[in-house]
Each structure stands twice: as structure tokens, then as C-alpha cells.
């Protein structure tokens, strides 16, 4: 409640929050022990966030790799249920999301509510796709021989995600949900200046049925941690959406580092070197899902 209405009789000491990272289903402090202040659009203190380091990213990749076989191996229907449950939990934390989006992005109450609604709806939209991808993206190929030839989409593996810097909730969900819907696991670098919705999302994930390690969220300086994720040999793909407007980040350098182990790279929107943040309110298509899929093709002999 507003602090200016306090009187001597009802004075209560502020509970000042220092958030932690979300790695492997747990909430560890940064290995580096650092944290940084998160402020709203007018520079007022909101909370302390953990300032993750390259070693936190390393731990997150280990956790994501460990979680991958089970998550990718879960039935698509089950993944859909689990993700839908996340939307339910987010709905329960709606007021908190609205407050954080409003403070972080400087929106009006109504506008912030609309953003949170859109974010939760987007999550549900992607949750619904889990068990429909194979029909839409896979199929039976006609071949000149006595074979069934079947193509099926499969998850790529561990995906590094640079979450959008401005759209701290709708943008975040628009990049994380498509990655995990198909069975990938994610290492997410949250928006540097607006990390609080990501922290709250991690609390929603931890209290739903998403297995630990499927989504790992690191708050901190994007320019510090992103190169280590981009060059990590055990990361199979990277989404560079958050390179737009990130302080000190050149996405071309990240793509170069990613080439070392032939990562799939989803470039940020924009022309040339200038990365821009897309309009996240637009209705999505399947492109963010297909960017992190492999196509497995099986030849099976026809017999009687």
C-alpha cells in the first residue's frame, strides 16, 4: 500500500525483496553473490535482483540438459496439460504480474492488465499446440518405393533464450512458451532492466507441474552472460530476441560464437545489424516453434 499514508501507529517495516535465480527447479543465489537494484521507469527502487554470472549460466545449462530427455519424452498431451496448469497459476498471480508490468514498463493500470491477459492467453495458445505440431508439421511423404516415409518434428535440445528487454512479460512468454511447448528445455536470460515479471514467472513455474530444469531463468547483465550461452557447446540453439536494445550486445557476435557448434540461431527482428523488438501484441504464428525443431524422417518397409 502507498507509503505516504502511513502514520506512527500503523508503521510497518518494508519487506525489501532480494530475488534469486531459478535453476533446476530451485532458487539459488548467484554463484557470484552479486545482486543489482531494479527500479521503475522513474528510478524508484522496486526490488533487488540476483546478478547472474557465466557460472550460473553454466549450471543452468547442466540443469536444462538433465531435464531434456524426460521433458522431450513426455507425451505431447501431457506437456500441454502441464503448460496449461502454468497458465492457471499465472492467473492466480494476476495482480502481482499487473503491478510488476505496470511499474517496469510504465503502463497504465488498464494497459498493464491487457498485457497480462494477452500474456496468459499466449501461454494457453502455445500450450494448445503441443499435441498438434506433429500433425501440422510432420506427415507421410510420397516416395518411389515400397516404404512408408514419415517425417516427424522433434525438439532440438537445450535452447538459450535472450528474453526481450522491453516487453518483460508478454515478450518473455512469447519467446519461452514456443521453445518448451515442443519439448526443448530453456536457459532464459531475463530482461536486464525489467526482470521482475520473469522472477514471478519462475515462481509460477516452480509451483506448477513443470519439471525442474525445463525452464531456467537467470537475471543479470545480458551483455555479460549472453556470450557464454552463445558459445556454450552444450546449447543446441539460441533465440536472440533480447539482443534488441540490450546494453553492449552485438547480436552478430553472438551468432558468430553460436556457429562454433552449429547452433540453430533465431535472429532478432530488424534489418541488418540493427535489432529491433517486434510488436508482441500481434497474433503469433508457428515460426518461433519451428525454429527449434528438427525433422526426423523414418523409412519403414511396407509389408503384408
Amino acid at each position: 500500500m502507498p507509503t505516504n499514508q502511513r502514520t506512527a501507529t500503523d508503521a510497518r517495516v518494508d519487506v525489501r525483496k532480494t530475488y534469486k535465480l531459478y535453476i533446476g527447479g530451485k532458487f539459488p543465489r548467484s554463484e557470484s553473490g552479486r545482486s543489482y537494484e531494479v527500479v521503475d521507469g522513474r528510478g524508484r527502487f522496486l526490488a533487488n535482483a540476483s546478478q547472474g554470472s557465466r557460472k550460473d549460466a553454466r549450471d543452468a545449462v547442466v540443469a536444462a540438459r538433465a531435464a531434456f530427455p524426460k521433458w522431450a519424452g513426455a507425451t505431447a498431451y501431457n506437456r500441454g496439460q502441464v503448460l496449461y496448469r502454468v497458465a492457471e497459476v499465472m492467473e492466480g498471480r494476476r495482480a502481482q504480474f499487473v503491478a510488476e508490468v505496470r511499474a517496469g514498463e510504465g503502463l497504465t493500470e488498464r494497459r498493464a492488465e491487457a498485457v497480462v491477459d494477452a500474456a496468459i492467453d499466449r501461454w494457453v495458445w502455445y500450450a494448445g499446440w503441443t499435441d498438434k505440431l506433429a500433425q501440422v508439421l510432420g506427415g507421410l511423404n510420397p516416395v518411389a518405393g515400397p516404404y512408408f516415409d514419415i517425417s516427424a518434428p522433434e525438439p532440438t535440445g537445450v535452447v538459450g533464450v535472450l528474453a526481450p528487454q522491453r516487453s518483460s512479460l508478454l515478450g518473455l512468454i512469447s519467446v519461452v512458451a514456443p521453445v518448451i511447448a515442443s519439448g526443448n528445455t530453456a536457459v532464459v536470460l531475463a530482461s536486464e532492466l525489467r526482470p521482475l515479471p520473469a522472477v514471478t514467472l519462475s515462481e509460477a513455474l516452480a509451483t506448477s507441474d513443470v519439471p525442474g530444469g525445463v525452464v531456467n531463468i537467470i537475471t543479470g547483465r545480458t551483455a555479460e552472460v549472453a556470450p557464454w550461452v552463445a558459445s556454450h557447446r552444450d546449447v543446441n540453439a539460441i533465440d536472440l530476441a533480447g539482443a534488441a536494445d540490450a546494453d553492449g550486445v552485438v547480436w552478430g557476435d553472438l551468432e558468430l560464437a553460436a556457429a562454433e557448434n552449429l547452433k540453430r540461431v533465431l535472429r532478432p527482428a530488424g534489418e541488418g545489424v540493427e535489432a529491433v523488438e517486434p510488436d508482441w501484441t500481434r497474433t503469433p504464428d508457428l515460426s518461433r516453434i519451428t525454429a527449434f525443431l528438427e525433422t526426423k524422417t523414418v523409412w519403414h518397409p511396407k509389408g503384408r
Binding site: S231, R233, A257
Partner: protein, 339 residues
């Protein structure tokens, strides 16, 4: 780095030496009991505190690079599964010869450790390379067999070309106070480690500390094993949890240090089982240096019984070489084991 030779000093008469050390005319169970129980007790809290403190040292850059290479050269690369095949043993030998094919400067592990029936296969696969073959013997891992069977098991491995023998003690006998029985068992196996040409295979004595219940027992078992002629004292089979913990290894390192003060002889230490990360391995190296001394920081005197540890060390090594984190795609995929 001192090379690891496969022979050790000629077998001393363990019983005669034990009589000397204990100051008795006849080695009886009572004499051994009063000697072993006369050892100072282990301060459990202090020991665990010291081990935890030694685990907090920060080892970076060139020291870390040295530690990783040293740790690799100290590994007894192990496969001890019921499902072992000659192919798997050859694969392990190939890995010992070329741990990281992308970097020929990677040192080789000290030995490969296999069951007795795989010794010949391992020996053949390793050829003349300076990698020893270690064989577990004496009805590993339980040790529940009669003495003639245990001795036959040992001789069989020696004849097949084993350079080192890892024996298990009879924990049941030890825990029920039959120290003389354990002493004689070790002494006889040590005797059986003598080859036809008079050279000896080195004997590692597995105490299975996870079954010894107390730190006092670990200390007693360490002294008993050294007294009976073991060339190495080894924590565990890897089949029992907990296996090689840092406090237990610390107690054993104190024992070999004090043994050298008493007799002038060095005995090796081998923690085995449960050491999977480079970080863990470096903690052990710090403990070796601080407790026993740098003389033990040599593959001849200190070993890690491990399998998955090697991959983690290789990943760390690659990380330091290429400047980016490496991943499981860049090391060989070994099937899981308890080590």
C-alpha cells in the same frame, strides 16, 4: 611426473615386522586389538570441519590446469559391471590411451581397473603403453569366499598380466573384532601378488569404509592394512554408498603420513566411488597436499577410482583450452556406472 612402475619393493615378512612394531613375541588377536584400539580416536566434528574447510580453497588458472592434468594422470579408469564385455574393456583401454582425441597433450590415466577375467583383454589392448592394468580380486565386491578361492582369484589375475591387485577385506571379520584374521588374509594375498620371476604386483587394500560405521574403525582398518603389507589403502568398492568421502580420505591420509613417520615407508591412498566432478577431485588434491604432503601428489602414491570423473576433467580441460563451455557431445559416452 614420476612414471608408474608395476613392481613394488620385495615383500617384507609382514608378521615379523608386525611383531617388531607391536613389541610382542607372538602376533595374537589380543595384541593386535590392544594396538589398534590404542590408536587415538578420531574427532568426528573436527575431522569433518577440516575436510569442509579444505574443500573451500579456490584453485584457479594455471594451478587449476595443473590440478586437472594431475587428476587425470591419477585416475584408475574403472569398469566393474556384471555386463562388462571384452569390447567395453577395449573401449576403456582406448580411452585410457587417448583420453581426448581432440588434444593429444592430454595425459593418460594411471591404470584401467577391471575384473580378473578381463585382465588379459585389457593388457592386450594397452600393449606397451605406460598404463597399468589393475584387477579386483578376492571375491570382489563382497569378499565372501573361502581363502583358497581368494588366493586363486589373485594368482589368476597376476598370471593374466595384472600390474596391480585391488583386494577387499573381510568386513564381517573386521567388525566382529577378528583383526588377526583380516591381517592374515591381507598378508597372504600380498604373498600371492608375487610373480613367477620374483617381482610383485602392487596390492591395494579396499576397506569399504561405507561399511565400517565409524571413523575410528577407518583409522584402525588403515593401520591394519598397512601393517599387513598393503601398498595402497583404498576406501571403497564403489558398490556401497557412501563411498569415498573427503573426511574418510583425510583420515587415511593421516594414517599413511604417520605410518611413514613410524616405519619410513610410503603407502598409497586411493579414494574410489562417488568422485564425479573436477571440483571434487581438486578438493581431494588439496587435502592430499595439506594432510599427507606433496610427496603423495603423484600417480604412484595417490589414485582416484573413477569412471565418469575423467569425462568431467576432460570437459574442464577443453573449457580452459577453447575458452567456452564444452558439452557431453565432445567426450566419449561411457555407460553409467556406480563410480
Amino acid at each position: 611426473m614420476v612414471s608408474t612402475t608395476s613392481t613394488s619393493a620385495p615383500s617384507v615378512d609382514a608378521t615379523a615386522r608386525a611383531r617388531d612394531l607391536l613389541g610382542v613375541s607372538r602376533l595374537t588377536n589380543a595384541a593386535l586389538t590392544s594396538w589398534l584400539h590404542g590408536l587415538p580416536g578420531v574427532d568426528q566434528v573436527g575431522c569433518e570441519g577440516r575436510a569442509a574447510a579444505l574443500g573451500t580453497r579456490s584453485i584457479k588458472t594455471t594451478s587449476k590446469a595443473w590440478a586437472i592434468d594431475t587428476a587425470i594422470s591419477m585416475i584408475d579408469l574403472t569398469t566393474l559391471e556384471g555386463a562388462d564385455t571384452p569390447g567395453k574393456v577395449r573401449g576403456l583401454a582406448a580411452k585410457a590411451l587417448h583420453p581426448d582425441p581432440t588434444d593429444p597433450s592430454t595425459p593418460s590415466p594411471a591404470a584401467v581397473c577391471v575384473y580378473g577375467d578381463m585382465v588379459a583383454t585389457a593388457r592386450e589392448a594397452l600393449g606397451q603403453a605406460p598404463v597399468n592394468v589393475a584387477a579386483v580380486a578376492t571375491a570382489f565386491p563382497s569378499g565372501r569366499a573361502s581363502m583358497p578361492v581368494k588366493l586363486a582369484d589373485t594368482r589368476d589375475a597376476i598370471e593374466a598380466g595384472a600390474d596391480e591387485i585391488d583386494m577387499v577385506i573381510d568386513r564381517g571379520a573386521f567388525l566382529s573384532g577378528n583383526y588377526l584374521g583380516v591381517f592374515q588374509e591381507i598378508a597372504q594375498v600380498a604373498e600371492a601378488c608375487t610373480r613367477a620371476d620374483g617381482t610383485r604386483a602392487r596390492l591395494k587394500v579396499i576397506m569399504e569404509t561405507g561399511e565400517l560405521v565409524t571413523y575410528d574403525n577407518v583409522r584402525r582398518a588403515s593401520w591394519l592394512s598397512m601393517l599387513a603389507g598393503g601398498d595402497f589403502i583404498k576406501t571403497s568398492t564403489g558398490k556401497v554408498s557412501p563411498a569415498a568421502t573427503l573426511p574418510v580420505t583425510l583420515i587415511m591420509l593421516e594414517a599413511v603420513r604417520d605410518w611413514r613417520d613410524l616405519t619410513g615407508e610410503m603407502v598409497g591412498v586411493k579414494p574410489a566411488g562417488g568422485i564425479r566432478t573436477s571440483k571434487d577431485a581438486i578438493k581431494f588434491l588439496v587435502t592430499v597436499s595439506e594432510v599427507a604432503g606433496d610427496d603423495w601428489l603423484d600417480p604412484f602414491w595417490f589414485r582416484f577410482g573413477a569412471s565418469s570423473l575423467l569425462n568431467d576433467l576432460l570437459l574442464q580441460r577443453q573449457r580452459m583450452r577453447i575458452g567456452a563451455y564444452s558439452g557431453a557431445d565432445y567426450v566419449t559416452d561411457d555407460s553409467p556406472s556406480l563410480y
